[in-house]
C-alpha cells in the first residue's frame, strides 16, 4: 500500500499488533471490557480490604492513611475505571451492530478514546507506588488544598481525571454522531433499541457535563501547583465553588453510570418475556426526562452547606420530580414482564434482580431529596448503602445481565447456565448482606470514611455481617471468572440468534464478521427481527461485493501516549507536557495525512 511521505507504514492485520492498531469497534469494545473488568477486580480487592478492616471494632489490618487511600481509590476505580468503561464496552461493541452500521463514525477516534482511557487508568492506579489520592472521590476543598493534603495524591487525582475525561469526551462525541447519522435505512429514532437511546443520552450528558469538572480540576491544579486561590477562603476564593463544579458534573455522572444498565435491562426483559417492551415511547422519554432534570438537581449533594431556603427548596423539588420518570421506567419493565412467557435464565435473573435492588436504592435516594432528612443522613453509612444499591444493585447487576445476554454474540459461545445461576444467587445474596445493614449502621450514627470504631458503639454485629456479605460477593465473582474461562474453551456453537431476540445485532453471525453485516439491513418496524419473522421476510443474500473497512492505524496509541506524557508533566516536570504536546501535534498531522481508503 502506498504511504504518504511523513506517515507511518501500515500495520499488519494479525497478532498483537493488530490489537494495538485496531480501529474495529468490536475489538475496541472487547479491549474496553477486559480492561474495565480487570479494574473491577482490583476495585473489589480494595473493597475487601476496607471491609476486613471494618469487620470488628478497633480493627488493625490497615492504618488510617492507607484506609483513606483505599476508600478514595475504591470509588475512583469502580466509577471511572470499571463501571463507566464497562458501559463503554457494551456501547462500543453493540451500537454499530444495533443500528445496522459497519462501524462508528470515527473509528480511529474510537481507538484513541480507549488508549487514552488505559493510560489514564494506569496513571491513576500507579499512584499507590507514591501517594494515592486520599480525600474521597469528590475530593472536597479545602481538605484537598495543598495546606491540608500536601502529598502528590491529589495531583494524581486531578491529572488522572483530566485524562479520563478527555477519553470519555472523545468517545461521547463519536457516539452522538454515530447514532444520529449512521442508522440503517428505516431505523428512525423512535425505532431505535432502548439501549442505543440510553447510549445517545449518556453521550450527550458526557459531552455537556465533563467541562465543568474539567474547569474545577484545572482550578484545583493551579491552586496546588501555581499558587492561585480559587478555593482558598482567606485569599478571597471559596471552597464551596469546588463542590458546585464537581456536582454539576457529578450528578449527571450518576445517570451516566445507571442509564446503560437501564438500556440493557430494557433489551433483556422483552426477549425473555417473549413480548415487546411495554410502553416503548414512555421508556425513551423517561430516559430523556431523567437526563434533562439531572442538570437541575446537583446541589442536593450540598444541602448541609447552608445554601438558603429558596435554593434548598428548588433543588429538593427537582430531585423529587426525577423519581417520576424513574418510576415510569420501573412500571414499564414490570408491564413487560406481566403476562409474558418468561424464561428465567441467568441474564433474565440479573435483569429482574436489577429492578428490585435498583428500586431499593432509588427509594433511599428520594429520602435524601428532603433537606431535613438529608441533614440526618449526610456522611453516614446510610448514604453508602444508597450509592451501593444504585451502583452495585443497579449498574453492576445490569452489566452482568448484559454480559450473559450478549456473550454468545461477542464470542460465539454460551456462558454456563449452572455456574451462571450460582454466580447470580451468590451475588444477589452477597450484595444484600453487604449493603442492607449499612442502612441500619447509618441510622445508628456510623459515619462513612472512618477507619475504625469503638467497641461500645454497638456497630460490630452489622459490620461483621456486611463483611461476610462482601466475601460472598467476592466468591460470586470467582465463580463468574471460572465460568468465563470454562466457556472460552468450548467450541463456537452459538447460532446467529440464540435467544430469538428482536434487534439487529442478532441478524449477523456470532461473533460478527469484521464488516458487521454482509448486507446492510433494512428496518421495517420497532422490533425488526420479530417483524421480519412474522411476515416471512428473508434476510437478503450477500452480493459478494468487496466491503471496504477502515485500515488499522498506529496513530491512536501514539497520540494517547502523547496525552499521557502531557498529563505526567504536572506530576514531575513541565518539560514532559511540552514533549507530550509535540507528540500529539505530530500524531494529529500524521493522522490527518494518513489515507483512510
Amino acid at each position: 500500500m502506498a504511504t504518504v511521505a511523513g506517515t507511518l507504514a501500515r500495520p499488519a492485520n494479525v497478532g498483537v499488533w493488530s490489537w494495538v492498531t485496531t480501529v474495529d469497534h468490536k475489538r475496541i469494545g472487547v479491549l474496553y471490557g477486559i480492561t474495565a473488568f480487570s479494574f473491577l477486580l482490583w476495585g473489589g480487592v480494595q473493597a475487601l480490604l476496607i471491609r476486613t478492616q471494618l469487620a470488628v471494632p478497633n480493627g488493625t489490618v490497615i492504618d488510617a492513611e492507607r484506609f483513606n487511600q483505599l476508600f478514595t481509590m475504591h470509588a475512583l476505580t469502580m466509577i471511572f475505571l470499571a463501571v463507566m468503561p464497562l458501559g463503554a464496552a457494551f456501547f462500543n461493541f453493540l451500537t454499530p451492530l444495533m443500528i445496522g452500521a459497519r462501524d462508528v463514525a470515527f473509528p480511529r477516534l474510537n481507538a484513541l478514546s480507549y488508549w487514552v482511557y488505559l493510560g489514564g487508568g494506569l496513571l491513576l492506579t500507579s499512584s499507590f507506588f507514591w501517594d494515592a489520592p486520599s480525600a474521597g472521590w469528590f475530593n472536597y476543598t479545602p481538605l484537598s488544598n495543598e495546606t491540608y493534603t500536601a502529598d502528590m495524591g491529589i495531583d494524581f487525582y486531578v491529572v488522572g481525571l483530566l485524562i479520563l475525561g478527555t477519553s470519555s469526551l472523545m468517545a461521547a462525541l463519536n457516539f452522538c454522531v454515530t447514532i444520529i447519522n449512521m442508522r440503517a435505512p428505516g431505523l428512525t429514532m423512535m425505532r431505535l433499541p432502548v439501549f442505543v437511546w440510553m447510549t445517545l443520552i449518556i453521550s450527550f450528558l458526557l459531552v455537556l457535563a465533563l467541562p465543568p469538572l474539567t474547569v474545577g480540576l484545572i482550578q484545583l491544579l493551579f491552586d496546588r501547583n501555581w499558587e492561585t486561590n480559587f478555593f482558598v477562603a482567606e485569599q478571597g476564593g471559596d471552597p464551596i465553588l469546588w463542590q458546585h463544579l464537581f456536582w454539576v458534573f457529578g450528578h449527571p455522572e450518576v445517570y451516566i453510570l445507571i442509564l446503560p444498565a437501564m438500556g440493557i435491562v430494557s433489551e433483556v426483559l422483552p426477549v425473555f418475556s417473549r413480548k415487546p417492551l411495554f410502553g416503548y415511547p414512555a421508556v425513551v422519554f423517561a430516559g430523556v426526562a431523567i437526563a434533562f432534570l439531572g442538570w437541575a438537581v446537583w446541589a442536593h449533594h450540598m444541602f448541609t452547606t447552608g445554601m438558603g431556603t429558596v435554593p434548598r427548596t428548588v433543588f429538593a423539588a427537582n430531585t423529587m420530580v426525577i423519581a417520576v420518570p424513574t418510576g415510569i421506567k420501573i412500571f414499564n419493565w414490570i408491564g413487560t414482564l406481566y403476562g409474558g412467557s418468561i424464561r428465567f435464565n441467568t441474564a433474565m435473573l440479573f435483569s429482574v434482580a436489577f429492578i428490585v435492588t435498583f428500586t431499593i436504592g432509588g427509594i433511599s435516594g428520594v429520602m435524601h431529596a428532603s433537606p431535613p432528612v438529608d441533614s440526618q443522613h449526610q456522611d453516614s453509612y446510610f448514604v453508602v448503602a444508597h450509592i451501593h444499591y444504585v451502583l452495585f444493585g443497579g449498574a453492576v447487576m445490569g452489566i452482568f445481565s448484559g454480559i450473559y445476554y450478549w456473550f454468545p454474540k461477542m464470542t460465539g459461545r454460551f456462558l454456563g447456565e449452572g455456574l451462571g445461576k450460582m454466580h447470580f444467587w451468590l451475588m444477589f445474596i452477597g450484595l444484600n448482606m453487604t449493603f442492607f445493614p449499612m442502612h441500619f449502621l447509618g441510622l445508628a450514627g456510623m459515619p462513612r470514611r472512618i477507619y475504625t470504631y469503638d467497641q461500645g458503639l454497638d456497630w460490630g454485629f452489622w459490620n461483621m455481617f456486611a463483611t461476610i456479605g462482601s466475601f460472598v460477593i467476592g466468591i460470586s465473582i470467582i465463580v463468574f471468572v471460572w465460568n468465563f474461562f470454562r466457556s472460552m474453551q468450548q467450541p463456537k456453537t452459538a447460532p446467529d440468534n440464540p435467544w430469538d431476540a428482536a434487534t439487529l445485532e442478532w441478524a449477523t453471525s456470532s461473533p460478527p464478521p469484521e464488516h458487521d453485516f454482509d448486507v446492510v439491513p433494512t428496518v421495517r418496524a420497532r422490533d425488526p427481527l420479530w417483524h421480519d419473522r412474522d411476515h416471512n421476510i428473508e434476510r437478503p443474500e450477500p452480493t459478494g461485493e468487496h466491503i471496504h473497512m477502515p485500515p488499522p492505524s498506529y496513530y491512536p496509541i501514539l497520540m494517547a501516549s502523547g496525552v499521557l506524557l502531557m498529563g505526567l508533566g504536572p506530576l514531575s516536570h513541565l518539560a514532559l507536557t511540552a514533549l507530550g504536546a509535540v507528540v500529539v501535534v505530530y500524531s494529529i498531522w500524521g493522522w490527518a495525512l494518513e489515507p483512510t481508503d
Binding site: I180, D238, H244, W295, P311
Partner: protein, 108 residues
C-alpha cells in the same frame, strides 16, 4: 465545484456575498465602538444591561451569519442553542447562589 457535487457533499451553501460579509464585519465594529462609548459614559444602572444586549447582538450575528447557522441544517442550531442555554442556565444559577451570600439577596 459543481452544484451537484456540493449538494452531494451536503456542503451546499446559501451563504452571503463577499460584500454582505464585509458589511457585517463593519456593523460588528460599529457595535464594538458603541460598547466602548457606553462603558466610558455615565449611564448608571442602565449600563450593564445595555452592554449585555450589545454583546449578545454581536454573538448572535457571528453565530448566525459567519458560522452559517442561519442557512445550515437545523440539527446544528438545535445542538448549539441547546448547549448554549444549558451553559447560560448553569452560569446564572451558580452566580446567583454565590451572589446571594455576598449581596444578601432574599434567598433565605
Amino acid at each position: 465545484m459543481s452544484h451537484a457535487e456540493q449538494a452531494e457533499l451536503g456542503t451546499e451553501q446559501h451563504g452571503l456575498t463577499i460584500r454582505q460579509y464585509l458589511m457585517i464585519g463593519a456593523a460588528l465594529t460599529v457595535i464594538t465602538i458603541i460598547e466602548l462609548a457606553v462603558s466610558y459614559s455615565d449611564l448608571g444602572d442602565a449600563m450593564v444591561p445595555i452592554l449585555l444586549i450589545l454583546s449578545a447582538v454581536k454573538f448572535v450575528v457571528v453565530v448566525a451569519y459567519f458560522m452559517h447557522l442561519r442557512f445550515d441544517a437545523p440539527i446544528f442550531t438545535r445542538m448549539f442553542v441547546g448547549s448554549f442555554f444549558l451553559a447560560l442556565a448553569i452560569l446564572i444559577a451558580l452566580v446567583s447562589l454565590f451572589w446571594a451570600d455576598d449581596h444578601r439577596l432574599p434567598l433565605g
